[in-house]
Amino acid sequence: MNVNPPLLEVKRLEVSINENKILKSLNLTINKGEIHAIMGPNGSGKSTFSKVLAGHPSYSILNGEILFKGASILDLEPEERSHLGIFLAFQYPIEIPGVSNEDFLRLAYNSKQAFYNKPEVDPLEFFAIINEKLKLVNMSPSFLSRNLNEGFSGGEKKRNEILQMILLNSELSILDETDSGLDIDALRIISNGINNFMNEKKSIILITHYQRLLDYINPTYVHVMYDGKIIKTGSANLAKELETKGYEWLQS
């Protein structure tokens, strides 16, 4: 029984922040090889959901369960969840002055190596590794010496997030509005990066407001989140329907 549990199972999840209940009995199951798009109006709880999966300390879990590969992760620290293969591409990647992108990426990479008792890599070895990945998101090596996200354009920040996802080779990647604020070229580059990264062993949650991302990345399912719950699930066509009709028609 249950030899191959789903990659992620979220059951009746209830979450609050500062006494405000944001997620209200949320259910979601994701299998390996699936891409799930979550859409929904502002304030419906999409970003909260992504941060809760990653273990952000500000949220309290009131009820429910989150299973990753069949085991509960509710008691795990954010860094442990990261090591297990959960990655969150932030909607607004934060700027960190004084820390070079390269040092940050290497430390992240080596932290995971160490967690799995693998040897840490030195800066030269790392450069060879990261150089390969840079090409996948069309970034120049000059990115490495810049401070982490500092002075990056919106598109550069988002590409940097995808670069980190590829580097850490996560199994469950949650992309929180990675498409917002991107021009068409950047959207294409990022989508290509995501599509090349995706395979039958991985899963992706795409949180987005726009159908246009789904023109490049084909979702297995589209969910609509409203008031802390998933109120409708459908195929890629649901997104197209939403694009023309808005969310109003679902709320009745």
């Binding site: 952000h56 990261s82 070079s100």
Partner: protein
């Protein structure tokens, strides 16, 4: 280090803060003490104990007279209870034989103390490239490599020794950079200073070793009033390092020091400090009150004075290492990292006085405030009308950790000619929950994340420190910040 279970790490981290001051021990030793309180009599006694010349006794008495008429400065952004100057021991020295001929005669308990602080004074284990003067409470107990330095004509000794052996140099220079009436604490120090270091680098000499003084406050009730004087003659160079620690007491100790630097023509002095006096506990109890006047004069043309400080300790820090740029083309530098945590308060910065032509100064100040602490940069750049072509660059960056700390910048600039160029830059950044979560989400543990952010923030300063100090400073900051977040 990385793959420890981080959950354990996070719960332990709050405990770590309580043990982070590894120099908090005290040494039990037989002491020679002048009773608490400050009067003319105390000064006569100090002078007598040190068998001083009349010049020095008069110097002290004059300072005492001035001090009595002055009052404690109140302009700094610091809050602390009134200091009872009659409740302080002004002289506390380990009892020793009359004159020490060599280190073997130093009380082994003292050698052990310094050994424990990581400062080895014994022949076998000395740091190969650093000569050290070790000051314990009121007196210098040993100076290493003195003989070797003498071969180069370099004088490196305790100031007490210098007062007796090189009276002409002392009379010529003592109190010339920091006049006795300069400020309340300099007057106090001039009246009661008990020891400190003296360095003299002769003409055309590059000092072959880094010189270093290690200050240790041991006694619970004694103040430390040391005085350092460094003279760098024409075409000479010296690197000087200063370290400080004190035991963990729940009362406050007073430390009021003076450092005077004199750089003659084409001379260069680089003075680095890593200050780690006991800073009080996490509730703000105890800790050293650190009121220090440090000033250097670039009296010769093309001379240079560079201050680097890493201030991590003390409950109160009041300190403005400054440069008076008299010689044409002379250069002053100030590089500072000041870190405050818990209830520490620091008001620190520099003064650059441009007097000569084409004088240059550079100020890089990095303040890190964590916990409930207050951290202020206070700086003054003065350019007089004759200082044509003067230039100053100032950069003041503040880093806030958590939501309860406080950072301030008080820059003051006065320019009296139109050929001067001044640049001032300032920034404030924060390590808060979101920054930390970003690191955690990428699998980087709290400690490593903060270490990376803090050392990135301080990099410019650490590159100014001598190598051994830089590594130590990096570690020290990380240690000091443990438990400040999360």
């Amino acid at each position: 280090m990385v793959n420890q279970s981080n959950k354990v790490l996070n719960t332990n981290i709050t405990n770590l803060v309580n043990q982070n001051y590894q120099y908090g021990f005290s040494t039990t030793i037989e002491k020679d003490i002048i009773e608490k309180g400050l009067s003319k009599k105390t000064i006569f006694l100090i002078s007598q104990k040190k068998e001083e010349t009349e010049f020095l006794l008069n110097f002290r008495l004059k300072a005492f007279k001035k001090w009595k008429k002055m009052s404690q400065p109140e302009w700094a952004y610091l809050k602390f209870p009134e200091i009872d100057y009659q409740d302080i021991i002004y002289y506390s020295a380990p009892k020793a034989q009359k004159k020490l001929k060599n280190l073997n005669e130093v009380d082994p308990e003292l050698l052990k103390t310094f050994e424990k602080l990581g400062i080895s004074l014994t022949e076998q284990k000395r740091l190969a490239n650093v000569a050290i003067d070790a000051v314990f409470d009121s007196v210098s107990i040993a100076t290493t490599f003195q003989k070797e330095l003498t071969e180069y004509g370099v004088i490196f000794s305790s100031i007490s020794e210098a007062i007796n052996e090189y009276p002409s140099l002392i009379e010529r220079y003592l109190g010339t950079v920091v006049p006795i009436g300069d400020n309340y604490f300099s007057a106090l120090n001039s009246a009661v200073f008990t020891d400190g270091s003296f360095c003299y680098i002769p003409e055309n000499t590059i000092c072959p070793l880094d010189l270093s003084t290690y200050f240790r406050i041991n006694d619970q009730q004694s103040g430390q009033f040391e005085r350092t004087l460094i003279i760098s003659e024409k075409n000479s160079q010296v690197n000087y390092l200063e370290g400080c620690t004190a035991p963990q007491y729940d009362t406050n100790q007073l430390h009021a020091a003076i450092v005077e630097l004199i750089a003659l023509e084409n001379a260069s002095i680089k003075y680095s400090t890593v200050q780690n006096w006991y800073s009080g506990n996490e509730l703000g109890k105890g800790g050293v009150y650190n009121f220090v006047t440090k000033r250097g004069i670039c009296s010769g043309n093309n001379s240079k004075i560079s201050w680097t400080q890493v201030e991590t300790g003390s409950a109160i820090t009041w300190k403005y290492p400054s440069c008076i740029l008299v010689g044409d083309n002379s250069k002053g530098e100030f590089y500072s990292v000041a870190l405050t945590n818990n209830y520490q308060q620091a008001d620190t910065g520099t003064k650059m006085m441009h007097i000569g032509k084409n004088t240059r100064s550079r100020i890089i100040s990095k303040g890190i405030s964590a916990g409930h602490s207050k951290n202020s940069y206070r700086g003054r750049v003065n350019v007089i009308n004759k200082a044509l072509g003067a230039r100053n660059y100032s950069q003041c960056d503040s880093l806030l950790i958590g939501d309860l700390s406080n950072a301030n910048t008080f820059p003051f600039i006065s320019i009296q000619n139109s050929t001067t160029k001044i640049e001032h830059e300032a920034s404030t950044s924060k390590i808060g929950e979101e920054q930390i979560f970003y690191f955690l989400q990428r699998g980087i543990c709290l400690e490593k994340g903060i270490e990376l952010m803090v050392s990135g923030f301080c990099r410019e300063i650490f590159t100014e420190l001598p190598l051994e100090f830089a590594a130590e400073a990096d570690k020290l900051l990380t240690l000091k910040l443990e438990g400040s977040v999360g």
